[in-house]
Symmetry: C2
Subunit: 750 residues, 2 copies
């Protein structure tokens, strides 16, 4: 089901053709990160810290170096000291996270690496590297890290964003705050005030494909890197920074990517692989196993969140107070900032205070995960909203409708909303038969909404017209969520030629203009706008060539259905094919580049309703029905939009019911595999039903809003609200595992 | 020594920095055609005709197909019948030259191909393909092919360019003619008339690297091709044509190229490799050996040329009559057309008739070879000029100066010359000490000049500014003669940043705009102009961003020395680095594309003087001194310009003294190796001294003229004239081998 505000009669946009990368992916031809093999290539292996927090006393690489077939062994001392070079603190963190120098800050932190002629030999050599540590006390959670006299990860770190600046270092990297109105007045105007405290656990993005990189260094300092990432320009920049070289010396080619969800915006193996290749004089491949992915790549933050909200009897929210602490892992940079922006942004609340803390602890540095920060925040606020609705006996959708932000509302984080579709997603759910379907025993229904601001950033695109009138559309955005198809659909629509005549290409860092990382659901919007711009430059050029051919002014030429037409029909039309074939005589080849910094990002909203059945004997929660309504602005490729909506929900269900990092008292992860870290699989789930809402983003030529992230924001609260509906118990700690449900049921019945 | 008309004070243009591809090439890192290895790759082998002319009666592939490890066997029937599809005759010829259908037209013509798991197995399988032939009578030379009742290669071929059209087919594909004035009047005005007949032999371009191609076909019809060529867009177009698919389905990546000289503008292995890969479902590599290169790839034409010229006593040429017949090999398309354009184009002659014939014969189809057609024509005309000068006792340079074309002269082939530098090259030689150096016994001196019109055609370039203010310059011209360096030098000059900050990249057919083949000495001119255009678009963008930053009009901003400067100095300058770092806030990434069809190609002239010593006992001619003066317009990269000048001369010396194809009576080549086909090596030669003359081409931003080809035009005549000077005998048949010299000496002394 799709709810579309208007239908402009597009020919290609909104259709569901075969995806350009489909056959390669189903036949195994597509090359992912680990698939590149080069002649003479070595296999690398990384040596990782077994300790959560320790000082490195010494590293003895001599045994490893003396092994036959071992071609290179490197440690942190093989990389420049960015701190000494006056680099930006964030660059220093990236460098130290890639390979430790004096201290290791989490189990799995890289301390050395080897390259050898076989994988087995590399593993043996990695074991032969002898590292001597002084183990230090560690902190694993925000509670431990924020405690008085907690051991410090970074001895000199002073909290930012606090006035006056603290005079003592701590594990709190920074504080953020958003406030409006007068909290006391706001809560004074409320009939009901609910205050609750929530915790969430770190969860991993869980991409199928582990990180992998192949580097091939030249003897003049240049190097080629092949890796799967969400943005090869970002990989280039960060790798260059860690290596201390100019971006221009590195060429990064985007492999196909087996999932990222934010976790592949970060470098791990790339600078290691380049340095090993430089030392060995041969190409080097590094591939993580699942254990390494869990122990050493960024999950999202575990959090503690307190929410207090007030509502009037007629359902108007009067005030909100939010306190959040987010684990950053080993280095500053949790998504608490985005959490602060999004936590109450879907609602028009006159009085509020939102404050958040970014807290380091001895776990892997967190990485972005689908709408980073928003899901935990929404779990808290949307749970409290559910309680407020129950308290005043109001339909939960009606409560949200009564307070929903609309065009013109000033968002809690600052700007005024342009045209947005939150109300439309709420209404879509309310009108759907799922919302009134009958529930059986032990079943319950939960509603929750989600907001994500989406990002814009920089993108480039080039369009080349081939001699036979087909087109190549070149972008620098790795195809993570179907961008090849959406770019081809928009280009076909613009140029007026068949989708099949468009070849979408993801180019390397040398052959397309700079393009920011794929994140913030920005690619269809921003890279798409660059593709549209480039197509329009091409069309202008084609009109000029037709005008030249006919010896008329360009305003006498229209571009319609893939051909130049004279406005009064006095000339036989010239097709793109005709014009391409004659381009040598009308000015040369037909190509255009467009680069832009996207403006007018369209905010995304999702409303979801889920029905669960909770087994009172086992505490197991089974999702029996799930419906998600999301404003896509315009669904360029409805198949992929639905895929994004469903994927977000499924990851949210895992986060809500099952997934968590479990650590022992030494700070070692106890469940670093998909056997023990339990993600939902197809048999765990019902069909996730999708309702695409289309309220066009006025700032995009096709009305696109980002669709990739917001779907993961509501599920945890929707599940918690449904469990409450089914059982009467309110769970506030994620994941809502059978044991927690049972404990709550037992407590209730006591 | 360089003679420069003006020196505009360039910072980078005209300097001699380290070449960007240098280290990779000396360390063996650079990947040439045969260097790509893919996992699962098969080795292919082509089955070739042992006959010069034969009908294919049957091909039995069953034995080859049944061999273990053989994964694909194909024949001509695996390719579409372009003739039946109404394709252009030239496309049909390309297709039939790639793989024979009903007839083989030369020894080495492809009839089938195999792919197997090892090279040895592929060779065995190729031998197991059984082809049954009906051998037909053959013709090897223009004399045989033009004889009455000669066997016909193409039964229905009617000569083009003859009015009325002949009513009988022949081996003459076409006739070209250029004429002016009244021959009878012209020769009537002459004091001396010389008429001579010349023959030249087919010679091969002799590139070090044999042809190689790797193809990797996808299951949806797309395919990647890796090959060394002079133009991967041409490879794409021709391969697509032979396979009967759209250009857009093929991606061609340019390998490094180990020499081309015109011979790698043609497809041979590419469509075979793709089809084998499609049939086998795995990548396939095909590599020729030297024997195959000689027998089956295009040398240049053998020719017969008659020249009659008249001169007045004061050294004015009064008339010229030229008759030329050029071998085309198996399919029409010898360079007789270019020979007709160039043969007398260096001289202003009031009355002339030039006619030429394109003649097919049972040898491999000729391919372009450095100034195709001009060297043989110049050998004839410049030898006759030498005789005319001797006849009227005039210095040979003075004779040429008295008749040299200058700005405003109407060329023999039509257009009026813009500013050209022929006179300057003549004067450069005349003034050089070599021209008056003393000669010893058996030594002689010869002068000759050469003309080449050069080509323009289509090129594209893209310039991307990296985040740190370095730049990537992307073109679609394979780096054959130093284009990476010349593009980087021009970009550095334009952008005002160091040469080392520019990374020149040769992109594949998907990631840069269409670019024609590297031929006609066009790349520095045309692709260079596209680079300059793209840089200027970038600079305009940078000025606009600086203006925006300063809140001033763009005309208040100049681009000087790599930075934006306010005209009145009221703002601190903004460097490219500054502007690049802030591009996200001023409109997005900085990139520009430029595509053009080059206009104002600058014609090239070369004058050369050589001294030889002829051993009267053995007939061996030793080149003892060689000087070449060539108008480069502007030498962007003087190292490479000198390399081109020297390379052309050396190839001309080989052509003049040693190289030739030798066939037996069955039409089988007897010397298909570098042992028996004798090219000059370093020890055969003196240093080739270079004098770069710079008379800027007014139509190019840096005054560039093509430099790659004209250097091969004068040597054969210069050598012949020097041998005449040393011995008194005039040789008119190439190559001027010791035995021919001895025979002529013996004849003289008889």
């Amino acid at each position: 089901m799709a709810i579309t505000e208007e239908n402009p009669g597009y020919k290609w946009v909104g259709t569901r053709p075969i995806r350009p990368d489909g056959l390669d992916k189903v036949t195994g031809k597509a090359q992912f990160g680990a698939d590149l093999t080069l002649p003479g290539m070595l296999f690398g292996k990384v040596v990782r810290s077994p300790h959560a927090h320790a000082r490195i006393l010494s590293i003895d690489t001599s045994a490893a170096e003396s092994m036959l077939g071992v071609k290179a062994v490197i440690t942190g001392s093989d990389f420049p000291d960015l701190a000494a070079n006056g680099a930006h603190p964030m660059a220093i963190d990236v460098s130290h996270n890639a390979i430790a120098r004096d201290k290791v800050l989490y189990e799995g932190h890289v301390v050395a690496a080897v390259a050898a002629t076989t994988r087995e030999l590399a593993e043996a050599a990695a074991k032969a590297v002898e590292v001597s540590y002084e183990v230090l006390p560690h902190v694993l959670t925000v509670d431990e890290a924020m405690a008085d006299n907690a051991p410090l990860l970074h001895e000199g770190m002073i909290t930012k964003g606090v006035e006056p600046a603290p005079d003592q270092p701590s594990n709190i990297a920074s504080r953020i705050v958003h406030e409006r109105g007068d909290l006391e007045q706001g809560f004074g105007e409320a009939e009901v005030v609910v205050e609750r405290e929530f915790t969430t656990k770190p969860v991993h993005q869980g991409y199928i494909e582990p990180h992998a990189a192949v580097a091939d260094a030249n003897s003049d300092g240049r190097a080629n890197i092949w890796c799967s990432s969400q943005g090869h320009f970002q990989m280039r920049a960060d790798t260059a920074s860690v290596l201390g070289v100019s971006q221009g010396t590195l060429k990064v080619t985007a492999a196909e990517i087996g999932g990222g969800f934010g976790g592949k915006t970060v470098i791990y193996l790339e600078p290691i692989a380049v340095r090993l290749s430089q030392r060995a004089g041969r190409p080097v491949k590094l591939v993580m196993d699942r254990d390494e992915v869990f122990r050493a790549t960024g999950p999202t933050s575990g959090t503690r969140i307190k929410v207090k909200m007030g509502v009037s009897n007629d359902g108007k929210l009067t005030a909100a107070e939010v306190w959040m602490a987010f684990e950053a892992g080993a280095y500053a940079g949790s998504p608490v900032g985005a959490a602060g922006m999004t936590v109450i942004a879907a609602y028009d609340i006159p009085h509020f205070l939102v404050e958040g803390y970014d807290v380091v602890c001895n776990k892997p540095r967190v990485a972005a995960y689908r709408a980073p920060g928003a899901p935990m925040a929404a779990f808290a606020v949307e749970s409290v909203l559910d309680e407020l609705a129950r308290s005043i006996d109001m339909d939960p959708i009606d409560l949200r409708l009564a307070n929903a932000v609309v065009e013109g509302t000033q968002a809690s984080y600052g700007p005024k909303f342009p045209r947005i579709g939150f109300v439309e997603t709420l209404e879509a759910i309310k009108e759907h038969p799922n919302y009134t379907a009958e529930l059986g025993p032990n079943q319950g229904r939960g509603v929750a909404a989600g907001f994500w601001f989406n990002a814009g950033m920089s993108s480039s695109a080039t369009v080349h017209i081939n001699e036979n009138g087909t087109a190549t559309v070149v972008t620098g955005s790795p195809d993570i969520g179907g961008s090849r198809q959406s770019m081809a659909l928009m280009a076909a629509e613009e140029l007026g030629i068949p989708y099949e005549s468009i070849k979408p290409v993801v180019a390397d860092t040398e052959t397309v203009g700079f393009t920011d990382v794929t994140g913030g659901s920005r690619v269809t919007l921003a890279t798409g706008a660059a593709v549209v711009d480039a197509c329009r430059i091409v069309i202008e050029d084609l009109r000029a060539r037709a005008a030249k051919t006919w010896d008329v002014e360009i305003d006498q030429v229209e571009w319609v259905d893939g051909q130049a037409q004279h406005v009064d029909g006095s000339q036989p039309p010239l097709s793109l094919n005709d014009l391409a074939a004659k381009s040598g005589r009308t000015g040369g080849p037909i190509s255009a580049n467009a680069s832009l910094n996207a403006r007018g990002v369209g905010a995304a909203f999702s409303t979801q309703v889920c029905d669960v059945e909770v087994d009172p004997e086992t505490g197991v929660t089974q999702v029996i029905r799930y419906l998600t309504a999301q404003d896509a602005g315009r669904a360029i490729s409805p198949d992929y939009v639905e895929g994004q909506m469903q994927g977000g929900v499924v990851q949210g269900i895992g986060w809500g019911l099952n997934e968590e990092y479990v650590h022992d008292e030494n700070g070692n992860m106890e469940n670093p595999s998909f056997l023990d870290y339990r993600m939902p699989v197809a048999s765990d789930l019902p069909m996730i039903e999708c309702c695409i809402v289309e309220v066009p983003n006025p700032a995009h030529p096709y009305g696109v809003r980002g669709v990739g992230e917001v779907g993961i924001v509501p599920p945890m609260a929707a599940l918690g609200n449904a469990i409450k509906d089914a059982t009467g118990v309110r769970l506030t700690d994620l994941p809502m595992t059978p044991i927690k449900v049972l404990e709550a049921l037992n407590e209730q019945s006591d």
